[in-house]
Structure formats: C-alpha cells, structure tokens
C-alpha cells in the first residue's frame, strides 16, 4: 500500500515537473530550427519581421544557431550561441555594426522562477531613444523566449545599423 502511494506520488511529481519544464529543457529542442513572425515591426514600418533560428551544431551545453531576420525582401543573419545550463539558459546574439564592431545581446532565463531578462549595451547610434531592456515573467516555452528576444531587438535597436 505504502509502496503504491510512493509510486503514485512519484509519477504525479514527474508529470508536474516534466510538463512545466519540458518545452525549454527538452534536449532535442536545441537541435531543431525555430521560427516566428513579429507583427507591427518598428524596423519594417509596421510590417512583419520574421525570424528563423537555424540550428548549426551542439557541443555539450552549447548550441550554435544562425538567426535570420527577414523584413520584406531583405534579410540578415547573426550568430547565436545558446548555453542551456541546469537552472539557467543564456542566449547570446552577436550583432555587427557597419564598422565591424560586435555587440552581443544577452538573454538570461531562470528556469526555476521562469523570468527572462534581455540586455545589450548597444552603440548610441543604433539604439532607439527611450530604449528599455525588459524583463518578462512566467515564460513557459522556448518559443516565448525567442519571440521576446526579437521583440526587444525590434523595439530597442535600429536594425539598419547592423550588417
């Protein structure tokens, strides 16, 4: 009887944990491509900004991606590195400006408390006035994480600055 209860509790706990973390922790998810579309893009004068995260390679906790941003006919690609650690996931997007200077946007996701922060020390010339790097709470999936990064890039940066 006790043993059955133990098994039952274990199964319930496992399902609860799995359902809440599975989307972001699932190992395979960081070996796949991801994509999405941002409506009303500031950088595309209210049009769409589509983003594609193209998987390149994985090495331990580190996955490499190419981020392809497409607005209208033009598209640009940026290097992305994701570090999927035990309690935290770091996503770094490397943006290169016209002078060849690289600046990295960093997204930090706390898997336990489910918040995400996006930070970047962008050049003044590339930064919109009143730029604010936001924090998001209750983030439950990798898609949400990636969409938020694109939203922050679009809200705070002038993408024309970057090659």
């Amino acid at each position: 009887m006790m043993f059955n209860r133990f098994i039952y509790t274990f199964v319930i706990l496992f399902i609860a944990c799995y359902s809440s973390f599975s989307q972001v922790i699932n190992k395979g998810i960081l070996e796949e491509n991801h994509k999405g579309t941002l409506e009303n893009s500031i950088n595309n004068a209210g049009g769409e900004l589509s983003h594609e995260w193209i998987f390149q390679s994985i090495d331990g906790v580190k996955s490499r991606y190419k981020l392809k941003l497409t607005s209208g006919e033009s598209s640009k690609e940026y290097d992305v590195r994701i570090r999927n650690l035990i309690t935290t996931m770091y996503i770094a997007v490397r943006l290169t400006d016209g002078e060849g200077k690289v600046t990295t946007l960093t997204s930090v996701y706390d898997k336990g408390d489910k918040w995400q922060r996006v930070k970047m020390a962008a050049n003044k010339e590339c930064l919109r006035k009143e730029a604010k790097w936001a924090r998001y709470n209750q983030i439950m999936s990798l898609d949400e994480l990636l969409n938020n990064i694109i939203l922050q890039i679009d809200t705070n940066l002038m993408l024309g600055c970057y090659i």
Partner: protein, 495 residues
Amino acid sequence: MRLFKHSIKFVESSSLLVSKINRINKYLYLLVGCCLLKKYEMGLKLIFCIIIGILMLASSCKKTDNSDISNIKSVQTKSFKPDIMIDWWKVIYKHVAYQRVKPPVASRIYSYIGVAAYEAALPGMVGYNSFVGQLTDLDDLPRPDPALVYDWPTVITHTVYLSTDELLKRFVHGSESDFKDLKNKQLNARRLAVAEDVFQRSEKYGEELATKLIEWIRKDNFDETRYYSFYKIPSRNNNPELWEPTEATSDPCEPFWESIRPFFLDSGAQCHIPLKVPFSIEPDSEFRGYMDEVLEYDKNMTEEQREIALFWADDPGETSTPPGHWTYIMNYAIQQEQFNLEQAVSTYALVGVGIADAFIASWYTKYKVNLVRPKTYAQEFLNMPDWEPLIETPPFPEYASGHSVVSTVAAELLTEIFGENYSLIDSTHVSIGLEPRKITSFRDAALEASMSRVYGGLHYMFSIDAGIAQGLCVKQTIVDKIKLRKDNTLNISNK
C-alpha cells in the same frame, strides 16, 4: 633540605616546560637536566634521571606535539602525485554545483576537506606543523605510531572520504554513492601497492583521524545557526538605504554566518571595514555618483566586460561557486607546477581556510551595514522600474563585495605560494560553455573577479575597494598567525 628545595624547583620548572613543549625537542630536557645534575650528588642523579625520563615519556605521548609527528619509516607524502586529491575535488565540485550549495557553505566544504587531507598527510611530511593548536578549537588529533609503517594516500583517501560524506550530509542533506565509488577505486589501487598490514593500519588510522576531525567540525556552530529564529529583514520604512532581497522568492542567504567558528580570525568583526560613503539619493551626492557609475558600465559595457561579468558570475546551481572557482585555479597551478602531494595538500589547506575566513568577515560586514543593492536603488529612486542588471542579484546585502574579499584572500595566498606574475589558463567554466580565460597573475584575476560585480550591476565601486581592503586584512591576519612550516615561512613551492 636545600637540595630538596632545588629538586622541587627543578621539577616545577621542568613541568612548566612540559606544559609548553609543543615546539621544543624532548632532547633539550635531557641536556638541561644533565647540566643541572652536575651540581648534585650521585644519589640524587638517579631520582632526577627518573623524573626526566617520565617527563620525556609524557612529552612523547602527547598527541599534539608537532615535533614528534613525522613518521620516517613510511614512504613520504612528497613521493606521491596529487592525483588522488584532484579526483576528490572533481567529485566535490560536481556536488556543490548540482546541489546548489550556497557560496559561504561551499567555502566550509572546501576548507574542511583541505584541512582533513593536510592532517592525514602530515606525518609523512618533514618541516610542516599540524593545525592542532592553530585552528580555533582544534586541540587534539590522533597520531600514528612512529614505529610502524603507514601508507599516506590510503590515510588521505579514507579521511577525506569520511569527512566529505559528513560534510555533504551536513550541508546539503544527502550522501552520494560517487564518494564511495571514488574511495573504493582509490583504496583498491592502494591495496595492490602496499602490504596488507600497512593498508589495514592506514585505513584504521584514517578512520580515527576522520572521527576526531568530524567531532571538531560539528562544533562550528553551523547546526546552531540552522535553528536560530528566522531572520527578520529590517524594515526599510524611513530607512531607504537598507537592503531587501531583489527577488520575492529569495530568502536572505546565511544571515547568521558571522556566528560560524572562524579558523584564524578572532571573529568576523576583526576585519570589518566601515562604510564611508553616506547613503543619498540626491543627484549631486557622492553615493549617487557611484550609482551612476554602475549604470554607465551597464549602458556602455564592452564585449570584454560582458565576458568578464559572466565568467566570474560563479552562480550556485551552475558552478562550484567562487570558492570552487579559486580551488580550480589552485589546481591548475598545482598541476602546471607539478606539485607533489605534500605541496598540494599544504596549498589546499592554506587557501581553503583563508577563503572560509574571508566569508565570515565578509558576511559580518554585509549584514551589519545591510546596504541596498543597485537594482533596488535604480528601480526605486531613479524612476527605472524596468532596470535589471546583467547578472542576477544574489540574496544578501551589497556592502562589501564578497567576491572581492574572497578573491583577494585567495589571490594573495596563491601569490605567496606560486609567486607574482604567475600565468595560467583558467578553464573552470568550459563545462558550462564559457571560453577559457588567461590569467597573468593571481592579483589581476582577483581584480577582474572584483570588477565583474560592477560590470554585472551588482555592486558600487566603493564596495569593491572595501572588499579588497577586507580581503587584505584577512590574508594578513592569517599570515601573521599561521605556522604552516617549521621555518615559519609559506614556502610550499620550495622556490
């Protein structure tokens, strides 16, 4: 009668000597006694000889007599490589990271393992002193029979295994089979390398030593601080300068840590550095200037500063924490210099207790000053409700920077051992996807670690300066008190 008085006086003075004998060779008594005896008649010589014999016997039986610890019959500790200890560190790092051990608690694990390995290896080391009588409340430890042969790697493995098991049980409420596996692997190898009686004797001695060390470890106030009444965060009403956790889900980290027994410090208050910058939210105030500096770094952070901030974040749950990071660095230097086991255990013990005392000093100041973090300041007083630092703000008060205290102590002690301008590649965080960083000196690395907290948005610059000053005080206190080697130096590397 006159002779009787002389003999009483002699016995009294000899007894007094014996009570202070820890560093005096017993043969000195014989010499002194024989010189005095020349004055007296033949019959009394016999009585004096008996008394001296008893005193010598008493002194040789004393377990804490450093001069009698060396066991020259056994293969010396320096004949072995430090590999057994490096394997232990690997297992310990993993558990500290996975079990999300808090940095002050981690410092305790590393320091106790360092002391345990050192005391286990000590009888096989010439020219080193025991920590008995040096570390707070460490008054006695069993010693091996100098007439018998021991295998020091077996003693170390067994002592470290039992101590680690105790520490992990105590600090993170669980014991792991990894430790048993490593112990069995190491002991099986030693069993094949030495005679069975030597192996058995060494294992038994390791157990006796660990038992006594664990008794001492258990009296460090850690358990008591678990049962102290809950820490009440001081109210910030009318006290805007006071700290509060920046995440609602975080409990204050180890608010009673100053009550933990230090190794060399008298108390955490010994190296307290008072806050000299008055709190203010006025735009032209000195304090506000420091806050603006944090925001300036945040806004104009270079790629290198960003990398430094992430590299030294040393987050619990992902890494072996700052004390673990410095233990990694220590091990890179130990391997690079091809230190033997004797040199390695001496380094672990010295730097380990230094870091642990650094935490006690740092935590005393943190909860005494209880200063608000930049995140709270920016959000509350600068109308920046969305401002977040790059690195997650840890759940303890701001002043002074703990990373600065700990890194300064570690770097200064490592500089004593390995020298200035010692360069190495720090690959501590390769396993979490960070590139190795080159260290050109331990001091530069400590400065980088300290500055990482300003780049990361966790500290004001004055807290870095205070942390470095506090670290220098802790290091100097240890150097002034410690008698690691009999020649009173810290010359572990024999350079």
